[in-house]
């Protein structure tokens, strides 16, 4: 399916401060949009606004030509969220966490076990989450994205707490996602080395 995300004339206030105004972009299949800008410039806020977590002052976001505010529930089934915090329960195992996540949005056929194995957490999948290192928890968060059957990935600083191998792993995973017709919006201050349709949006 040929999905398209279009944002026009976005303006966002946080309290009194205007973070950005008049921002727009269009994202198609296989495309990546990197949100750039200094710390506190509003990268994360823009990402949260795109996901519908915060209200925009002005502007429209449309998915496949329909404003997402018309049916936010429908739009939420189109993306997966990779947040600053992993969103896992530390007392549960990666497997239990992932099984719960499987209920939240459309899923691929692959089992949570297989996906955890593919991100290199074979040995840790039955351990409580709190025993995993920060990097391993990030990999588990990546597994959540992989198992979801959604076209759009929204990622907030996916490279923090990762070593070089981990970083390459994120990029490969992203590459696979894009190759099978996905798209992604990534807030990051790192340069992305991706063999894809890469756009940048710099927020002043």
């Amino acid at each position: 399916m040929n999905h398209k995300l279009v944002a026009e004339d976005l303006t966002l206030f946080r309290g009194e401060r205007c973070l950005f105004s008049g921002i727009g972009f269009a994202l198609g299949v296989g495309g990546v949009l990197a949100l750039k800008g200094a710390n506190g410039s509003g990268k994360t806020s823009l990402l949260r606004a795109l996901a519908g977590l915060i209200d925009l002052e002005e502007g429209t976001i449309s998915w496949d030509g329909r404003p997402v505010l018309d049916d936010p529930q429908q739009f939420r089934s189109q993306f997966a969220w990779y947040g600053h915090r992993t969103g896992f329960k530390h007392d549960l195992t990666p497997l239990e966490n992932l099984r719960f996540d499987a209920m939240l949005r459309p899923q691929r056929d692959s089992s949570p076990r297989d996906v955890l194995r593919s991100v290199g957490l074979e040995k840790q999948m039955e351990l409580p989450m709190r025993l995993l290192s920060a990097g391993q928890q990030r990999r588990a968060a990546l597994a959540r994205m992989l198992i979801a059957d959604v076209p759009l990935w929204l990622m907030d600083e996916p490279f923090t707490n990762l070593d070089i191998a981990g970083r390459e792993f994120v990029e490969t995973t992203l590459g696979t996602h894009l190759a099978r017709g996905g798209m992604a919006i990534i807030a990051t201050h790192m340069a992305l080395s991706l063999d894809a349709n890469l756009d940048e949006l710099v927020i002043q």
Partner: protein, 253 residues
Amino acid sequence: MWNTIWTFFHKLASPPHFYRISAILLPWLAVPGYLLVAWGTYNGLFTAPEDYQQKDAFRIIYVHVPSAYLSMMAYMVMAISAGIGLIWRMKLAHAVAAAAAPIGAAFTFLALATGSIWGRPMWGTWWEWGDPRLTSELILLFLYFGYMALRSSIGDTAKADKASAVLALVGAINVPIIHYSVEWWTSLHQGQTLLAEGGPAIDTAMLWPLLANIFGFSLIFGSMLLRRLRTEVLFRERRKRWVKELALGGQQS
């Protein structure tokens, strides 16, 4: 027709426009309000006859009844405007809710205080748990406190508006339930309260001053609300150009 009304409200909702209109409206509420209350209070205290049972003590109803009425009225104003603000994302409506809460709490307190003073000669105590009205007023005061505490503990105005609006709506659904449950609770005791005012036998010389005070207090409530709302709007729009111009220019055109 609808378009005209819609445009009017839309214009009214724009802060600078509201600020100008409210300045014109303010004396039309305040002056008749204070005149009515002056007339009602004078007649209530001097021309209305003595109650055959309560003697002069009953005269506190000229303050107590309007306050009790407005304590509920203010909550309704607060909840309805909170609902409007939440559903139609109207910022001015949120400001109305924010402005109404402290006034409502003040009237609730006044109703409690006068009720308690009245209770002293009537029941011989300052507080009577067996009276359903006083008890529901007290719970209403707690509801106002909760609302104001929630609002003040959220720093971001827009977020505070929305969160407190949800609380106001939940509270509005509960107010009748609280009232009903307190009535049920006290009905289990023997002997009804003396506070049952009204009834068919009330003398018109007693009634007219009371009605004047209820109406006058309502107008004063309106003017207080408007006054607080003007301050609230100025504060919320303090970074906007029209407020700066107003502050620097002194006179408004």
